[in-house]
């Protein structure tokens, strides 16, 4: 039997009338199938580790553990597919040892009327770096929760998120980056487009902890609103308990601005085509960022299908 499950709750909540402090999904814990867990320990290799994660049954959960040893680099590509009427949770737990670099690329391909909950937990030691490229050109509902602990001094995190929401799709994103160490850095860039009746919620929290001197947190979001019935909620939070830090946030939400539109129209490109080009742009940028030809091609094919 399904029960309400509260996920993606912000560490600092705000007005309840906004109904955005967390997300609620229906989940059948009793009948959740545990898929075979993956344990990846990094060796220095140029080749990415690729994992195809497909749902099994109505409710399932996959756990992926990644540990990068001191000084090592690893790239993991997770291709996640969920069939219609199915629900899948993918929990990726990451430990980055001193001076390691971990790249996690998550690509989603879901059918309509499906639900995918992507949960990423990462803890970084001194001078470790974590990069995520998360691409969501799918059709089903997406819930994304990234929790990153910049524990070690000089550790850093880079997040790139791209999505294309359409029809009645619900995209719900929660990012929390805790700056514990000194001189830690995070950069978050979330770009996407919403069509039809799609709804997107973005909660991004940069938490500059006491003692984490000279930390820098930066988040930027651009949302292109294309449908008559779209809805966008953005809550970019900066929490600060340290004097010598910098926290920045910028968001731009709306349809194509006049200047961009004029640029296209002066080159004979219609508004409709311009909007299509711009909504592709966020996904295409991330496709290139994956650095893997096969993954890039698959993302662009999915994008064509969706568009």
């Amino acid at each position: 039997m399904t029960q309400e499950r509260v996920i993606n709750r912000m560490p600092s909540v705000t007005w309840n009338f906004l109904r955005a402090n967390d997300a609620k999904i229906q989940w059948d814990e009793e009948n959740t199938k545990a898929l075979t867990a993956e344990n990846i320990t990094a060796g220095n290799t140029a080749e990415p580790v690729k994992i195809d994660i497909n749902n099994e049954g109505s409710f399932c959960r996959k756990i992926v553990n990644i540990e990068a040893a001191e000084g090592q680099t690893v790239t993991v590509i997770e291709n996640m597919s969920v069939a219609a009427s199915c629900n899948m949770e993918v929990k990726t737990q990451i430990k980055g040892r001193k001076d390691s670099v971990i790249r996690l690329i998550q690509v989603q391909k879901t059918e309509e009327d499906s639900l995918l909950f992507v949960d990423v937990q990462c803890d970084l030691e001194e001078s470790a770096r974590f990069e995520t490229v998360q691409v969501f050109p799918g059709k089903g509902d997406i819930y994304l929760n990234n929790q990153v602990e910049l524990t070690g001094d000089d550790s850093s995190y880079r997040s790139d998120i791209g999505y294309l929401g359409q029809k009645t799709q619900n995209i719900d994103i929660n990012l929390v980056v805790n700056h514990w160490g000194k001189r830690t850095e995070c950069q978050i860039q979330a770009d996407g487009a919403l069509k039809d009746s799609a709804k997107k919620t973005f909660r991004g929290t940069i938490d500059l902890k006491h003692g984490g001197t000279d930390a820098v947190g930066d988040e930027k979001e651009t949302v292109l609103m294309l449908g008559e019935d779209v809805a966008n909620i953005t809550i970019p939070i900066i929490l600060c308990a340290e004097e010598c830090v910098q926290g920045n946030h910028g968001a731009t939400i709306g349809e194509l601005d006049d200047e961009t539109l004029f640029y296209f129209e002066s080159r004979g490109i219609s508004r409709e085509t311009a909007e299509k080009l711009m909504s592709r742009a966020a996904i295409e940028r991330l496709a290139r960022l994956t650095g893997d030809e096969e993954t890039e091609k698959a993302i662009l094919e999915d994008l064509e299908e969706v568009l």
Binding site: S12, H210, V223, I233, C240, E242, V245
Partner: protein, 469 residues
Amino acid sequence: MSEEKSYVADIDRSIYDIKDVENDDFRMKDGLSHEIIDKLSEEKHDPEWMREFRHKSLDIYNQLGVPDWVPNIDGLDMDHIATYVRPKSKMENTWENVPDDIKETFERLGIPEAERKSLAGVGAQYDSELVYHNVKDDVSKQGVVYTDMESALTGEYADMVHEYFMKLVPPTDHKFAALHGAVWSGGSFVYVPKGVHLDIPLQSYFRLNAKGAGQFEHTLIIVDEGADLHFIEGCSAPKYNVANLHAGCVELYIKKNAKLRYSTIENWSKNMYNLNTKRALCEENAVVEWVSGSFGSHVGCLYPMSVLKGDNSRTEFTGVTFAGATQNLDTGAKVVHIGENTTSYMNTRSISKDGGISTFRSSVVVQKSAKNAKSAVSCQSLMLDSESRSDTIPAMDIRTKDAAIGHEAKIGAISDDAVFYLMSRGISEEDARALIVSGFADNVSKELPMEYAVEMNNLIRLEMKGSIG
């Protein structure tokens, strides 16, 4: 100019902290109950509808919980708050007739002087009642009504009060709006007729002298079509070792083509729980501008809200918050875009020092009907030490594609280079830091009339005293 400078240097916090001997005409027993509501209603000579309204509001208060997102208010115990304290003075329209002790308090705060120099009318509230109210003759002759709420409730404007009172902020809005509905007293009623432009502002000043008491004044302003008003609100209280409460309510109705600027310098004492609610409803082409300086209170929750119902209506919110030792100030603004071509702009600065907590909280809601809505939010926070906190929690809920929404936030410290630059020109470190903080807050001070800008800068300098070492 040189006089102003010496005034800044000479200002003393004691003008706010002087306590008058409590010499009340009536003090309600502490706590909240229907019996207390009946007694309050009797003391206030309420019409029957208001008595019923108070009782219903108390029922709502008892049903509602404290929201989970607000700062901790455990130190506020309503069983130890007197909800109504009437001073031994009836409302006068000349300062000479106000009792000496109360008059001296307002003189120290500079209210009569400001009235003579630069105000079109003044209301002065002491504890739960207005003790002074006056409006210049030429303003009255234009049909401007500026009176206390009690007179408006039972006099010539009774129907208007009945029509508008707590319609914009209903008691169901939140627990402390319900509390206000139950125990409100004092405050001002303003009506500016069609087409009337007031060149100089009206001001209400609220002083809470009674220990362990609450102040629940209600301000109701209606600016009719094409009219223009600047209303200034000031408040202060001496510091006690027990909690005081301020849960006022401000309702502003700005009709077609009208404009209202509402300026507040809040300097409650640091034992005060300031849980105030302010809201404006803008009709077609109407404008509301909020200018807000928050310096006092132990805990503060204040988010003036603008409802842009009419097409082409707009709002601006300009605010500065300074949270020092023992203070937790949760401030910001809310806006709802309903009409087409509506515009909102928020520009805020927050400063945290000596363990103070400052939170900027905002919401921009753009409904589907608000085609071509535009909104920009800019908030900057300054951390003056690592014992303090500064949080920024903005929210945007956008339901139409035909909108342009922008937001930017920055948190950081005072630049060492800027301090060094000023010190290299012979300015002490303390003065250099105070100068930088004053400059940081000039978005608000430049929007205030000169006298109030000077007071605000004085408050910043007071807060910055001893900030080195």
